[in-house]
């Protein structure tokens, strides 16, 4: 192959691989499917009264101290997720902020904790598999002994959930692990998550992803104003029910499809973006990223072939030179 031909060939190869990538990736993978026995939660913002019992319970279960406000140390005043807080209730207000769950001049509560994505970005980008999705339960957990602290997971999580402890020279990533990490293991022991157990109104409901999704869709099918008996605790065997008028829900379940779906799903009466939910389509970014990576690197075939070609070329182009020329 002479130089001109080589140039043409390599240019052709570049354009071809660019075109292949642009066309959707030769080996693009679809979104992952939910784990076979996926467990999760359903948070219905219209049921939440902002008592933050779930925040306290989460701290208790995970052995983390409350975030004080000045002298006031008896309650948790965490404003957002941090290395000290795995779960937080935020308040969204608009205008006068007078009416609960109204879009204009209203306010609404929002629970932020790990969504336990079906196709988790954090797991996909972690170089050392410190974040993993459980093959059966779909729970996304963290292993600090593997973690190198690169914080790529924070960039790859669409919900900004993983938090790094910057103030500690030996910091680590902190995120909700569905109360099932080593030493807590509530799900393995047959318990429900701490936050769902503590929730007095059933705003945070525990259960299998399938049962929770069915419950969410049932609610969306109800007419606003009707009375509905809302379950509390585990949706599959509720502790109790309480009757309440049905609000005017948004017509989708957040987490059914967003970026491949989540095991922790949300319902709301006001648009989800107002509650701080990110702008996501149905395709997970993890699937696109992995598609590109595997097109370029599957079994290292492309790099090895390229290295072979390069070695041949370099050897040919240096062999004419005398001793010491090949530098």
């Amino acid at each position: 192959m002479d130089r001109r031909n080589f140039f043409k060939t390599s240019l052709g190869a570049t354009v071809a691989s660019a075109a292949a990538l642009a066309a959707g990736g030769v080996q693009a993978r679809p979104n992952l499917d939910p784990a076979p026995e996926a467990v999760g939660m359903l948070y219905d913002a219209t049921l939440c009264v902002g008592c933050k019992a779930c925040v306290s319970k989460c701290k208790e279960v995970n052995g983390m101290p409350p975030v004080p406000m000045g002298q006031d140390t008896h309650a948790d005043f965490a404003l957002d997720l941090s290395a000290k807080t795995r779960n937080v209730i935020k308040i969204h207000t608009e205008g006068k902020g007078a009416v609960k769950d109204a879009a204009a001049d209203g306010f609404a509560f929002e629970k932020r904790s790990c969504m336990h994505c079906v196709d988790p970005g954090c797991v996909s980008v972690c170089p050392v598999s410190a974040l993993t999705r459980h093959p059966m339960t779909g729970i996304v957990s963290y292993n600090k002994d593997a973690c190198i602290g690169c914080r790529t997971c924070m960039t790859g999580c669409p919900y900004n959930v993983p938090q790094y402890d910057y103030d500690n020279p030996f910091g680590q990533i902190v995120k909700c692990e569905m109360c099932n990490q080593k030493g807590v293991e509530r799900i393995d022991k047959g318990l429900m998550t701490g936050c769902a157990e503590a929730c007095p109104t059933g705003a945070t409901l525990f259960g299998s992803r399938g049962a929770l999704l069915a419950e969410a869709k049932r609610r969306l099918a109800l007419k606003p104003g009707e009375t509905y008996a809302y379950p509390r605790g585990d949706v599959r065997k509720p502790d109790s029910f309480h009757e309440k008028a049905v609000p005017g829900y948004q017509k989708t379940v957040w987490g059914e499809k967003e970026a491949g779906g989540t095991n922790v799903m949300h319902l709301s009466a006001i648009p989800y973006d107002k509650l701080g939910m990110p702008p996501l389509g149905e395709r997970s970014y993890a699937s696109i990223s992995e598609g590109v990576q595997s097109t370029l690197y599957s079994y290292l075939a492309l790099p090895v072939v390229a290295l072979g070609g390069l070695t041949w070329l370099v050897k040919r182009n240096t062999s004419g030179e005398k001793e010491g020329g090949a530098e």
């Binding site: 570049t14 170089p127 914080r151 970014y285 370099v314």
Partner: protein, 391 residues
């Protein structure tokens, strides 16, 4: 070969400028110690929404592209067999080695749990889908390769030291047998991880501004920008060395590099604009928000070298070539800064501006690189020997 390259060993190392660089490096070291004793939060403004600040984005994402001179020249000389650029290779390799070496160092400083860092080398921990794994392994390997590629320079120096002559000669012989393979690796590895630095942005999804989120095109645009920046750096550094050390200019060589650069810039702009137009992002170009303003500044900086290099008169002129190279360096750096940091938006509630110590540490890194560069070209035979440089 000693008659091709010379050490500027008649010039003093301890100039006032050199000492200034050392002083800046010393200040940086104080903050470096603070980072390891008190944690990153004590010196950096990183937060839950902005886990990566100037350290990662400058030291690694931009810094390695600025260190692509060795890569760009290796492709020109060894793939396209353009031997006349050979005299530029050693200084380019030195800047690459320093740039990549400090990128590795920066990665270590930024690595929260550095004591676990070796996990990326353990197969049972590796996540082969992760762009970060590819970048980590590939950059580590490339630093080694760069060192090997640069080692003939060190051996040439060693040969002149009393008592080392025979050993240096033997090592050199050994090296010559395998050097071509490392040169090939030195072309493959940057192609891999420079494209990955683009792929990083894919998984960040909506946090990356639509004008920079080109999904499947990310790796290609990243490689093209790295390549172009590599050539620009060779021209920039060559011009500085010429002026600073009052040496003979290498303009005729730079003109040739400029022509290659021109093609690459044109390709970059064509792919980028083509993609943005196809994806219906023209509206975002003209939104005149931060993103669109930065986008046009970048585009102007890319277009200027194209304008200079397209003119047969200007591209033969050392001054114009230097301006074009500076513009290109700014364009490429801004392209990477904009996408990964300046217009990066994780959503409401988060903002980032680097803390002073954080910035000083980055500046100190650059100062250290400059000091080392000056020391090395005055000690080892790196720069082309005058008479030959213009031959």
């Amino acid at each position: 070969m000693s008659h091709h390259y010379e050490a500027l060993d008649r010039r003093p190392v301890l100039t006032p400028f050199f000492l200034l660089m050392v002083a800046i490096a010393a200040i940086g070291t104080i903050f470096l110690i603070t980072r390891f004793v008190a944690g990153m939060g004590a010196v950096a403004n990183l937060n839950g929404g902005y886990p990566w600040g100037v350290w990662v984005i400058y030291d690694i994402v931009v810094g390695t592209a600025l260190a692509c001179g060795g890569y760009a020249l290796a492709v020109t000389v060894y793939v396209f067999n353009k031997g006349r650029y050979h005299p530029l290779i050693r200084p380019a390799l030195l800047t690459s080695l320093l740039g990549y070496g400090f990128a590795g160092f920066g990665a270590f400083v930024d690595m929260g749990r550095y004591w676990n860092g070796y996990n990326i080398f353990l197969p049972w921990h590796m996540n082969t889908h992760a762009v970060m794994l590819e970048v980590g392994l590939c950059v580590a390997a490339y630093i080694l390769v760069l060192f090997i590629e640069f080692s003939p320079t060190l051996l040439e120096w060693l040969r002149k030291q009393t008592g080392w002559q025979v050993r240096a000669e033997a090592w050199r012989k050994l090296l010559d047998k395998g050097l071509f393979f490392f040169i090939a690796l030195g072309i493959l590895l940057p192609t891999m991880h420079q494209s990955s630095l683009g792929s990083f942005l894919i998984a960040m999804g909506y946090k990356v501004h639509p004008l920079w989120q080109t999904l499947h095109l990310q790796p290609l645009l990243a490689v093209l920008s790295a390549f172009t920046m590599g050539f620009a750096i060779v021209i920039f550094e060559g011009s500085l060395v010429t002026t600073g050390f009052k040496r003979h200019p290498e303009t005729h060589l730079f003109t040739g590099l400029g022509r290659i650069m021109m093609g690459l810039i044109a390709a970059f702009l064509a792919f980028r604009f083509g993609y943005l137009i196809l994806m219906g992002k023209v509206g975002a170009m003209f939104a005149f928000d931060l993103g669109s303003v930065m986008f046009w500044i970048e585009t102007a900086l890319f277009a200027y070298p194209l304008y200079v290099l397209a003119s047969p008169v200007m591209r033969e002129n050392g001054k114009h070539l230097l301006y074009a190279a500076v513009s290109m360096i700014l364009a490429g750096s801004l392209y990477r800064f904009d996408g990964a940091l300046i217009t990066y938006n994780p959503g409401p509630g988060y903002s980032y501006f680097p803390a002073l110590p954080e910035l000083i540490m980055t500046v100190a890194t650059i100062a250290t690189e400059i000091a080392l560069y000056l020391f090395i070209v005055k000690t080892f035979p790196v720069l082309p020997r005058e008479a030959h440089a213009t031959a």
